[in-house]
């Protein structure tokens, strides 16, 4: 069953010389209940802004433009008033961000912060909220949750703080958890713990997880489907296995070629030349074309979104059937 439908999402910001730029430019995807979708891309591709837009938290002067659609359980989030939207944030949609140190309140105990979120979304007595908070802290793998309830954020390690963030996100019993680079600030052994935890919680709570990451390695074996973003657009989407086995977009292919591997022969890496352009400097036609090893003349024209076998989609002329 479809949980989330995003259609033609566009975010506008004032750009240089009075122009308007669209760092998120026509993003469409759907998510099923209980599914993990990974949104992958490099910095500046618009993946985080997309997740902020889902929560209607685009920082001003940015705005979501007319014609964008966000349906959660069939409800149009873009037509909700601010009060109803506040119910959705932390309620049906939970959020976990990259840096738990700046997302937690430094002068409140972590337990109170979890309990506060419980009470924001349920009519429940203070004592019951506290009991629920302790239960949630235990569920996310915090040892001695009753004692740790009283801890302040600075007394916990980065990994434990991220677990607290996840407990807060679970407090509203969300149908969708947005995890934006949840492990990027953590050490690799702690990253593995947090990814396991998210996977376990997804199963036990039946949540869908939108995993936003720059790291294709984090995606493999964790996500059901992957959408790759470049320059404000989804350029390719596919089931995870299919994407890794047969990436179809030259950008995805180039990304794979540029990653050092832990197994297999060590050869010279094949970097993508140049850098990701800023939103005001996106080229006409295919936005990857100036860096693309396979660019042709027709790439100066906006490429179609081609649907391949198994539902894989690719925004590239090379995937289009030859006329």
């Amino acid at each position: 069953m479809t949980l989330l439908t995003v259609t033609d999402l566009r975010v506008a910001f004032p750009g240089p010389n009075g122009r308007v730029v669209h760092p998120v430019d026509g993003v469409s995807f759907t998510m099923e209940r209980g599914e993990t979708l990974a949104l992958v891309g490099e910095s500046g591709c618009g993946k985080s802004l997309t997740s902020m837009a889902l929560l209607r938290l685009v920082p001003p002067p940015g705005r979501i433009t007319q014609g964008s659609g966000i349906l959660l359980d069939g409800q149009d989030l873009l037509s909700l008033d601010e009060r109803a939207m506040r119910e959705v944030r932390g309620g049906r949609i939970g959020m976990v961000f990259q840096d738990p140190m700046t997302s937690l309140n430094p002068v409140l105990t972590v337990g109170d912060q979890v309990a506060e979120t419980v009470r924001a979304h349920q009519r429940i007595a203070a004592a019951a909220a506290k009991a629920r908070a302790i239960q949630l802290l235990g569920e996310v793998g915090i040892p001695e949750p009753a004692e740790r309830y009283q801890a302040f954020p600075h007394q916990l390690s980065g990994g434990l703080r991220q677990r607290v963030m996840i407990a807060i996100a679970l407090a509203g019993e969300p149908a969708l958890l947005i995890a934006d680079e949840p492990t990027t600030a953590l050490d690799v052994t702690v990253q593995a713990q947090i990814l396991e935890l998210l996977e376990r919680l997804r199963e036990s709570h039946g949540m869908a997880v939108l995993l936003i990451t720059h790291d294709l390695g984090v995606v493999a074996g964790r996500a059901d489907r992957v959408a790759v973003m470049y320059a404000g657009q989804i350029v390719e989407s596919a089931a995870t296995d299919r994407l890794f086995r047969s990436p179809s977009h030259p950008y995805t292919q180039s990304l794979f070629a540029s990653i050092p591997r832990i197994e297999g022969p060590v050869g010279r890496l094949a970097p993508i030349p140049g850098t990701v352009p800023a939103a005001h400097a996106w080229p006409a036609g295919c936005r990857f074309q100036p860096r693309c090893p396979r660019a042709e003349e027709r790439c100066a024209v906006t490429p179609p979104i081609v649907t391949l076998a198994g539902g894989q989609t690719c925004r590239c002329w090379l995937a289009a059937p030859t006329p």
Binding site: E42, S43, S157, G158, G159, L160, D187, V188, T189, V190, Q191, A192, Q193, E196, H214, D215, L216, G217, V218, V219, A220, G221, T240, D241, F244, R245, S254, L255, F256, S258, I259, P260, R261, I262, E263, V266, R268, L269, A270, P271, I272, P273, T275, V276
Partner: protein, 323 residues
């Protein structure tokens, strides 16, 4: 074996933790007796998680921090015994490339002036040739000569890292400490910098101490790898041996936590419990014992610190590792 370019013996760095509010200031045991050698033209990878002391090793070797004890010989000289003038001469031969290309360049100097600084300080070329030399260095790292007049904010992260490398190369060093040189960069750009470092090594016969948390990146560049945990080297050997047949349980856990971008090659995951402990509380026995999962772990691991002993083509510090 040819005489090593750099020889580090029993390096120790302890310091008192800073405290803004007064109160107790525990001793941070950042580096606890580290020894290794780097041959001319060789890359040694120094790997570990945050707080393991790897960056402190790099900075102490260059005497950017003063050691507590130990010895560093570079090109035959005892670095810790040098007077300021001799140290300045030695430092021309050893340079550092930092992680963050945003904060390591002076924002008020043009990049040409930044690169020229070392040439001027060490009076390496006559004044009228500085400009030509700067342009040549920029070319060597893949930047256009006409970029010399521009300021750091006009450059992307990857370009700034190239500038940092040009700045280090200006004084004709034999040895570079590369401290997480690519971890702040996007993957497509990371590959450009790794290839550049490899090219420069081949062209100039440079030696690198390559400090990183990412084993896949280190595997790409290093011939030998040393793994650090809590200020100790726990395993050191050739890259094939350390990554192909790791002997220390920590190395095995670290390897299994590397996110591999290939769903068909997901290895058995060892998920360590707990966080890396604090260098203010180094265990009496094996530093890794509290998190160790080795089936043979026993009382000795908790009481007696294992020394590095030969194993495979390298050394390992574990009471129960196979030789």
């Amino acid at each position: 074996m040819t005489a090593p370019l750099l020889e580090v013996r029993d390096l120790v760095k302890h310091y008192r933790a800073g405290s803004v509010l007064g109160g107790s200031r525990p001793i941070v045991r950042a580096v606890n007796g580290v020894s290794f050698q780097v041959a001319p033209g060789e890359t040694l990878g120094l790997v570990g998680e945050s707080g393991c002391g790897k960056s402190t090793v790099g900075r102490t070797i260059l005497r950017l921090q003063e050691p507590t004890s130990g010895e560093v010989r570079f090109e035959g000289q005892d670095l810790f015994a040098l007077d300021p003038q001799a140290l300045r001469a030695a430092r021309r031969r050893m340079q550092i490339v930092f992680q963050d290309p945003y904060s390591s360049l002076n924002p008020r100097l043009t990049i040409g002036a930044s690169v020229a600084e070392g040439l001027e300080i060490h009076r390496l070329v006559p004044k009228h040739q500085i400009r030509d030399r700067v342009c040549q260095l920029l070319g060597e790292v893949g930047l256009d000569a006409d970029m010399a007049e521009r300021y750091p904010h006009e450059f992307s992260g990857g370009q700034r890292q190239r500038i940092g490398i040009a700045r280090a190369l200006a004084v004709e060093p034999a040895f570079l400490v590369c401290d997480e040189p690519v971890s702040a960069l996007d993957v497509s750009v990371q590959a450009q910098i790794l290839n550049l470092l490899a090219d420069l090594q081949a062209a100039r016969g440079l030696s690198y101490l390559f400090i990183a948390h990412d084993l896949a990146v280190v595997r790409q560049v290093a011939r030998r790898i040393a793994v650090m945990y809590l200020g100790f080297i726990v395993e050191m050997g050739t890259t094939e041996s350390v990554i192909g047949s790791p002997r220390h349980p920590y190395t095995r856990a670290l390897l299994s936590a590397v996110p591999e971008p290939d769903p068909e090659r997901q290895r058995t995951r060892i998920v360590l419990s707990g966080d890396p402990p604090s260098p203010t509380a180094v265990p009496a026995g094996c530093p890794f014992a509290p998190r160790c999962f080795h089936p043979a772990k026993d009382a000795r691991c908790l009481s007696e610190r294992p020394a590095l002993r030969p194993a495979g083509d390298g050394v390992v510090a574990c009471h129960h590792a196979e030789p």
